[in-house]
Subunit: 222 residues, 2 copies
DNA sequence: CGAAACAAACCGACTGGTCGGTCGGATGCC
DNA sequence: GGCATCCGACCGACCAGTCGGTTTGTTTCG
């Protein structure tokens, strides 16, 4: 590890102008790649496109970066770094734990709202695939989020939980579930998926305002 | 819409044996595609692979399905249908809203735990891209989930929230956030992302056991 | 100071490989 | 004979990465 860039690296020994221009080009390419990846996704972005957007040639791009993946990696890392630093700064300014949580969430929201492109790059995993795939995936998420929202509506109607934004809650629940399952699939984090069921159940119910007493009563299940 | 399959469609008018064999082949292909997609992802699955896995040829596959995408679509839909039906059945068996929620969650968990392949197909959007992309994405999720867990640990240490599985909560929070942002990006659902901040904030804090009084106090922010 | 020598930076045609989809025919059930 | 079914060689498009060659800024030396 540590062999990121190529020739341009140690060129700054002398001749500042040259090195500076090189660094500028590098940034130019990174910038172009950022926008192109965010707009069209990783797979659908061709190196020629990046080159064109950076107003250089494919050869020029390959002079500064070894592979397409290397560009993506660097972009991911630096973008995530920037966001994490921003959040850390915001959190450090607060002392109360809940205020900290607030600050973190608010920072993330504000940053994404201001930099849509950043959000696309960091969060839209699915953009890695093509359009078709994406549409199907979207429909699926939509469907299950709505399904959950429907159940929540019933619960609200029956007075089991206080009124709340069921649409949003459906989306959030689905997202949480999705992430937990994905983690299990990719990292094998809990060896048995069912292990996370009780704590996740409690978490979700609590988030909808179900009284603690009610949550504890798991019943005879399992 | 409605031009899914090709010749095989209306073949069942007469001659049962022939039609049956055709239907069998269709299933065979679907089955092979299911496994291959789940294992290697959409993009990395070649039609030749599907054909080989189904013990037929590419031409054979193309006789039954118009495009690769059509196969994927049908697979997604039918799999989601099956899962949704299962959940619906489980929910219908309960009357109490919270028990319903329980049943739904438990059904999903049990189904995935039993059919890892199904989970892969339905939930691993990122699998649509290649390995490289995926690794990077994974690291990112891991990183932010841990970051959240870290903050939660502090909050627990200070007694601001009751002890809980901070690791899982971090993952769930990240998933919820991710999904909300993704929804905004893809569907443009809330025109302004910030609109969802207050309700999401309340949802997340509540899920961690922050007392209702504390949640209501939004402070002078915004 | 200017010209030759050098190397960093850049260019774009080309290669090798992949893969979705096509098509002309073969095969067997009715 | 005729139609559904199936086969697999082939086509065309796409694209990451390479490479020989050109340009351009810098250094060296007469």
């Amino acid at each position: 590890m540590g062999d990121e860039k190529r020739g341009g690296a140690q060129a700054e020994k002398r001749g500042g102008a040259r090195a500076e221009k090189s660094r500028t080009r590098r940034e130019q390419i990174l910038d172009a790649a950022f926008n192109t990846f965010a707009r069209r996704g990783y797979r659908d972005t061709a190196m020629d496109e990046i080159a064109a957007a950076a107003e250089t040639s494919k050869g020029g791009v390959y002079f500064h970066f070894a592979t397409k993946e290397a560009i993506f990696r660097e972009l991911m890392r630096s973008t995530a770094d920037r966001l994490a630093a921003k959040v850390d700064r915001a959190v450090a300014a607060e002392t109360d734990p809940i205020a900290k949580a607030d600050a973190a969430l608010r920072t993330v929201f504000a940053t994404f709202a201001g930099h849509r492109t950043m959000a696309r790059l960091l969060f839209l995993d699915a953009l890695g695939a093509g359009r078709a795939f994406n549409d199907e995936t979207n429909a699926l998420h939509e469907r299950f989020a709505r399904m959950i929202a429907g159940y929540l509506d019933e619960a609200v109607a029956e007075g089991a939980i206080p009124p709340l934004d069921t649409r949003l809650t459906g989306v959030a629940w689905f997202g949480a579930l999705n992430e937990v399952v994905a983690r299990w699939l990719m990292a094998g984090e809990p060896a048995r998926l069912e292990e996370t069921y009780p704590p996740l159940r409690a978490l979700l119910l609590r988030s909808a305002g179900v009284p603690e007493a009610r949550i504890a009563a798991t019943g005879p299940a399992r």
